[in-house]
Subunit: 330 residues, 2 copies
């Protein structure tokens, strides 16, 4: 009995120690489980509403962009531009929206001249529509889109900088071509550029749109665009114009802020005159600008109000191209 | 008895009615008290962490700013600048931090030359300290501060525009003088401007600080500054320098982003040479820049790391002063 008694403490202590450590382990597991359950859900497909919030997803899909270029009747310019744009830093893929109905794409020739820095997808269209470029393409993997007209050359430096700016303003259209609307006493709006009267908010000029023919914007807006009222799509089809004005209305409505952020380009060129096709682009039509004013007023009806907001922020790159460009020549 | 009986119902009903109404009143008072206790406290002294969130407070306190100008031994410049700055749009009040110890302020003369557009308060200091201007002055009513050195003239146009930019970036130091730090292989940091090597993030230059001697920032940062470690205050007192570098460290640490937003000034002038006092400012001391590099490294010790972040965003005003300033001269 004495013998048992002496062993008993050991076994008792052993059992107590075992129980004690088991309890500790269980408590730790419960705490860990609770903490895990309380962690915020970080997967986020929606438009970010905070500035510059890096997400834990594929690095390339976040830090790169997809170039979407719609083309009609200017294949020579397209190919010249593709050679330039295919090598832009942070480019993930190119989607060419082929509006040359019934005509073969240059895909064979493209492949025969490979390899290429990034994949290029030729999306054959069935009808020649201006808004074809605003489809929610399944090939799109990136959050960012760079949309370029097929006659516009922007330098790689400008694009690299503008992309970094978009990353700080992901809910805006960040681009190189600012435009504005003005209202008149009659309540009818007019569309134009700096030649129009200033809207009258203090010094200087204001812009209320950034055109999407040379701009970065969030790919989520393509899905938004598809969901817009039928009247909006009909307007763009009727005019074969104004898809960019419509996108600015959409973005302004969505954010409640100015739709665009204007980045002043160092080197932007229009290559229209360089084409052999003889085709010189929609904006040469006599009615082009009048149509755009018409679109502004129609969109105000569709949106039941004027959502566009003015901004006078002009962004340039510090120390580029001149390393002292922040100083004024006095 | 019959008589009593007949009166009784009246008195009983009277008493019941009295009790009933008393109960109602007490219940209403309790409900009101509960509602008042549940009302959110809308008095908000903290830094806003959303962009541009209008609060239901006094319009003038939100849409205006307080100028804080510290002065030492340049009263002639001070008065010249006060005549200019007192009329800046959206100015709420001026606080002059009087570092001329033992000397009378020009308050009498100021009052004799009234009326003035805004109140000007002369804060007499007991010790001539660089960091006197970073006290959390009780006279401060606005969210925004404009801090100016007493020898710097910035045009009203620049200030009006920069204030509108600050309202879109209220957690940043929005100002006209960009500076940077660079790191070296030895791990020792150096301070400077564009003459220093680029930090090497792509094209062009970067800045990591915006100096507070010509900048807008949130008044909440003054309270933050007072709460910083004693070593930080001692460093500024030891050097009579670097309060602006310290503020950039503070803001960068607080936001996790670049501390400043640089607005390119159209018209900024240094009036030093115009003073009759013969006093030409701290930055002429031989050791001035070396001291600032010294401060950067000391602050890295105090903050246990380098919180400053680089930016290359340069903001200008669209269409001002030239209405076509968004176009390049080609």
């Amino acid at each position: 009995r004495y013998f048992h008694f002496c062993k008993l403490p050991g076994r008792v202590m052993g059992i107590r120690l075992l129980r004690f450590t088991s309890v500790i382990i269980i408590v730790l597991l419960l705490v860990a489980g609770a903490l895990t359950a309380l962690l915020p859900n970080i997967k986020d497909d929606k438009l970010p509403n905070l500035r510059r919030e890096p997400k834990p997803q594929s690095q390339s899909a976040l830090d790169s962009f997809t170039l979407i270029m719609q083309t009609y009747n200017r294949t020579d310019l397209l190919l010249k531009l593709l050679n330039h744009y295919q090598a832009i830093p942070n480019l993930h893929k190119v989607i060419v929206v082929w509006n040359n109905i019934g005509e073969k794409t240059p895909e064979e020739m493209w492949n025969s001249l490979g390899p290429h820095p990034v994949p290029v997808v030729f999306k054959v269209q069935s009808v020649n529509r201006m808004r074809n470029r605003l489809q929610n393409f399944p090939e799109l993997e990136t959050k960012a889109i760079l949309m370029m007209d097929d006659d516009t050359l922007v330098s790689a430096h400008d694009l690299a900088f503008a992309f970094s700016v978009w990353q700080q303003f992901p809910e805006h259209i960040v681009g190189f071509v600012p435009r504005k609307h003005i209202s008149t006493p009659s309540g009818v709006y007019s569309y134009g550029s700096f030649e129009l009267q200033n809207p009258g908010f203090g010094n200087g000029d204001q812009y209320s749109m950034v055109l999407i023919g040379a701009a970065f914007f969030h790919s989520g807006y393509l899905e938004d665009f598809q969901r817009q009222p039928e009247a909006l799509h009909a307007l763009i089809d009727e005019t074969q114009n104004c898809d960019d004005i419509a996108m600015n209305f959409l973005v302004a409505k969505h954010t409640g802020k100015p739709s665009g952020v204007f980045v002043k380009p160092v080197d932007i060129r229009n290559l229209e005159k360089d084409t052999n096709s003889g085709y010189s682009g929609m904006w040469h039509r006599a009615e082009h600008l009048l149509q755009r004013s018409y679109c502004v007023n129609k969109l105000v009806n569709i949106y039941d109000g004027m959502p566009l907001k003015y901004s006078n922020i002009m962004i340039s790159q510090f120390g580029f191209p001149n390393y002292a460009n922040h100083k004024n020549k006095m």
